[in-house]
Amino acid sequence: MTRPPADIAVVAFAQTPCRPRTGDVSEAEMLLPALRAVLDATGLRTGDLGFVCSGSSDYLAGRAFSFTLTLDAVGAWPPVPESHVEMDGAWALYEAWVRLLTGEADTALVHAHGMSSAGTVRDVLSRTLDPYTLAPLWPDAVALAALQAQALIDAGRTDEKDLAAVAHRNRTAAASNPHAQLRGPRPQGDYVVQPLRTGDCPPVGDGAAAVVLATGDTARRLCDHPAWIRGIDHRIEPHAPGLRDLTASPSTRLAAENAGAFDAPVDLAELHAPFTAQEVVLRTALDLGDDVTVNPSGGALAANPLMATGLIRIGEAAARIHRGEAHRALAHATSGPCLQHNLVAVLEGDRP
């Protein structure tokens, strides 16, 4: 059962601009403007929050317990009911949603940050792989994504021209997104790992995002047009790429079914597809036709602050509902090599 009996909505969203390098600020300093923005938008203070939950990764920060410092940005005094997932912030939002469902809180702050630029992100992500059979080979994130892209091409589902069109469409959309890192089309460039070219890959960048969730009448009080979470679910697949059909995403499909994504048509989708070929896989898994606007923000191909990118997809979808630009939106987040773990949320505005 993944349909909420209670009404829970995204009532505020903010993000920092995604920058290729942020050596001038700490993680807490990078996060602070996003936190400040959502608290100001809702008029809430830290002490009013029923729950706080965050997502981040020590491996990106290069130090253990890195998330502890973000409590300085939250201003967790007096102490706050708080938790943290070592995952993308979309999963922190999921944990907060569950907490609100229990009735123990009626507001929650969710935040996430990632400083991808601090290390060599391709190598760092290879440490997510099975330490006995895969990681010793150091397959990097681009190489694994290239295997997936080649499998799609071999299956006749796409070609390099189609992939270039995906890149072009996302980055063209990003031109109107002040937070994106690549604002406007880029040349496809040379192969990074065949068949993926520079243009098929996300930029490396640093950024942070924050969301406020609220229940029922509290949500209506804090926001003129709450983005109600009609359903949210996430599912994982086997780890070894060889155990999976890389041209399909059954976990995305299952999460979407459980979240009620197919109960009614969506008019907008924000997909967490760092590599062009992954958008092709996700569109199929989610039955997204040409009538659905996909990634008007530019998506992960325009800005990819790891551990925040998924939360930003939910935030971007919610923000369009807040502004009346969308009524029913699907937001997707992913984790792991070749879309191993996927989350789908369905957001809806009130009928005008």
């Binding site: 491996y59 007096p78 009911p81 997932v85």
Partner: protein
């Protein structure tokens, strides 16, 4: 709509050791998970979701390990969450799993926490490198020793209080076949004369580094009714966090710990913890933290916790047994240490704690803390379902 009551129907833990070279990471978590499922009379398909916890990924050198452990935990096609709240993580992980049941998102959830400390050196992994802190501190003991000294100065506690705690917990561990340390010939005198590591914390007053995992099956009322053995019922659970360092921070008795306990007691209807709680499993990685937490959690007035320890009240045959399992001082796979406290509390009220069973335990507190005494997670479990 009221919350669904949450029951603990399955508990499993691994054999703990300084190095479990006989198992891989998947083998380690699966050993605990399989035992929890067996205890609950369930099998992998009965689990709807998995909530995994551990301390920093650097300890084993595997980033986001839920990805490569999904198969071993039977999680394919299911939701998996990975919690990380420093040393409190084992407790937080259990609470996140409990909220999935309480919110009626899932009916039966498997929660697992682990650490395989032999993959690295936790002593140095816990010593943050420059530039993040000055190169003055070595290991967690280096961080906590000054706070212990502050406690001694403020409370006037006798110098041997810590040794009493260490001796008691290590003796309790002899009754627990799963404990890492079984020091059959340990005497109080040996604790008192063990090498000084971080004044006033001696070698025998310090937690070991362990490989190990703990798992629990949490389920709803219907699941509890089908369980083959008596369940433990969740009566209250809470988490609280405060920043690491700030002017006015009270390391001896952090406000986050007090607030967290207050919240749990309110949910559970506890008005006098000393009277209302039969047994407590507290996260005591360094001996002196027993009296410090007894005060922080309201079992003793401020400055008086050491008297409870000295009186023998916290011994297995005392009126408030603390750490009958042997505690963190005897077994410390960091990411699982909090869940082991929660699990021992549940074992006690289920009457399944074996030789370290506290007779007639009806209500038990499980406690975990982490970071710079800043993250707290606690639950109170009972033998009877909560009144709803």
């Amino acid at each position: 709509m009221t919350k669904e009551p949450v029951a603990v129907t399955g508990i499993g833990q691994t054999r703990h050791a300084a190095a479990r070279r006989d198992v891989s990471l998947p083998g380690l978590v699966r050993e605990a998970a399989r035992r929890a499922l067996d205890d609950a009379g369930l099998d992998w398909p009965d689990v709807e979701a998995v909530v995994l916890g551990k301390a920093p990924d650097f300890f084993e050198g595997v980033m986001t390990p839920e990805l490569c452990l999904a198969d071993a935990l039977g999680a394919t096609g299911k939701p998996v969450l990975r919690v990380h709240t420093a040393g409190s993580v084992g407790g937080s992980t259990a609470l996140v799993a409990a909220s999935l049941v309480a919110a009626r998102v899932h009916r039966t959830v498997l929660t697992v926490a682990y650490e395989k400390q032999s993959e690295s050196n936790a002593m140095w992994a816990l010593s943050l490198p420059v530039p993040f802190q000055p190169p003055l501190l070595a290991g967690a003991g280096g961080f906590f020793a000054p706070h212990v000294r502050a406690y001694i100065r403020r409370s006037g506690a006798p110098a041997d209080t810590g040794a009493l705690v260490a001796h008691k917990d290590r003796r309790n561990a002899l009754l627990n076949p799963f404990a890492h340390l079984h020091e059959h010939d340990l005497t109080l005198e040996k604790v008192r004369s063990s090498p000084m590591l971080w004044d006033p914390i001696r070698y025998s007053e310090t937690c070991p580094s362990s490989d190990g995992a703990c798992a629990m099956v949490l389920t709803d009322r219907a699941g509890a009714a089908r369980a083959p053995r008596p369940p433990a019922w969740l009566h209250g659970g809470a988490m609280r966090s405060e920043p690491t360092l700030f002017p006015g921070k009270y390391f001896v008795s952090p406000r986050a710990g007090r607030d967290c306990a207050t919240d749990v007691y309110r949910q559970a209807g506890v008005t006098d913890p000393r009277h209302d709680i039969d047994v407590a499993e507290l996260y005591v990685p360094f001996s002196w933290y027993e009296p410090m937490w007894l005060e922080n959690l309201g079992f003793a007035e401020e400055g008086q916790g050491w008297r409870l320890t000295a009186s023998g009240a916290t011994a297995l045959d005392g009126d408030l047994p603390v750490n009958p399992s042997g505690g963190v001082l005897s077994t410390n796979p960091i990411g699982a240490s909090g869940m082991l406290r929660f699990a021992e509390a549940a074992l006690q009220v289920r009457g399944l704690a074996g030789d370290h069973q506290v007779p007639g335990a009806r209500r038990a507190l499980g406690h975990a803390y982490g970071g710079g005494s800043q993250f707290f997670a606690m639950w109170l479990v009972g033998a009877e379902p909560p009144a709803t």
